[in-house]
């Protein structure tokens, strides 16, 4: 059974600070996704990383996929209150035709104005 772990579980920071959240597994994933979920809503995809070592930027968010494709990180620069939410990583093992996406337990981020 493939498992994804995320750390930290909770993070509360002041507006303007930088932060990094991590997603780790002992398994290799063909791709990894990051979602953000706001209260009362469903998760929304932020990015998909596919290649080991890949780095993608989305404004103040930087995503990196580990060289071995077992881990990923999300770095937010100068966090804003609008970044508050639950950040979920999700992996696709790519082993079956209809790949099951496995979600990590999430990092709950609170950015205080």
């Amino acid at each position: 059974t493939q498992l994804l772990e995320q750390s930290p579980q909770f993070l509360s920071i002041q507006e303007g600070e930088n932060l990094t959240v991590y997603c780790n597994s002992s398994s290799v994933f063909s791709s990894l996704q990051w979602y953000r979920q706001e209260p009362g809503e469903g998760p929304v995809l932020l990015v998909t990383v596919v290649t080991g070592g890949e780095v993608k930027k989305l404004k103040r968010l930087t995503f990196q996929f580990g060289d071995a494709r077992k881990d990923s990180s999300l770095h937010i620069t100068a966090a804003q209150p609008g970044d508050t939410g639950l950040y979920l990583c999700a992996g696709d093992d790519g082993k079956t035709s209809y790949d099951k996406v496995i979600f990590g337990p999430g990092t709950s981020l609170s950015v205080i104005p």
Binding site: S31, G42, T48, L88, P105
Partner: protein
């Protein structure tokens, strides 16, 4: 023009009752899913359907019965509701997992409370 819609948004019911949650997607996707998110926010897949055919069933009790009348709809019927069924249930769809395009588009969720 909501992409993935679910009804109802909230559902409060007594233990032992039977209830249904409806889901529709207008994205033209072939694959639809049901997820359960517990109180700790852990999101776990329950079922996946591709073109009305069951693809994934994650050892969900048979009190839960998904039904897909067409590829745009995936409804979830729950019999004999139990306290542990209380959670937020999310419907989702994706374009073509077989080709690697498995971005999940989620509905707004249905918060089920069993009393």
């Amino acid at each position: 023009d909501t992409a993935v819609s679910q009804t109802p948004k909230y559902l409060v019911t007594q233990m032992g009752n039977d209830k249904s949650i409806k889901c529709e997607q207008n994205l033209g996707h072939d694959t639809m899913y049901w997820y359960k998110q517990d109180s700790k926010k852990f999101l776990k897949i329950m079922f996946s359907y591709n073109n009305k055919e069951l693809i994934i069933n994650e050892t969900v009790p048979n009190r839960f019965s998904p039904k897909s009348p067409d590829k745009a709809h995936l409804n979830l019927h729950i019999n004999s509701l139990e306290l542990g069924d209380s959670a937020v249930y999310f419907c989702a769809s994706s374009q073509d997992p077989a080709s690697g395009d498995n971005e999940q588009f989620f509905g707004p969720g249905t918060r089920l409370t069993v009393l």
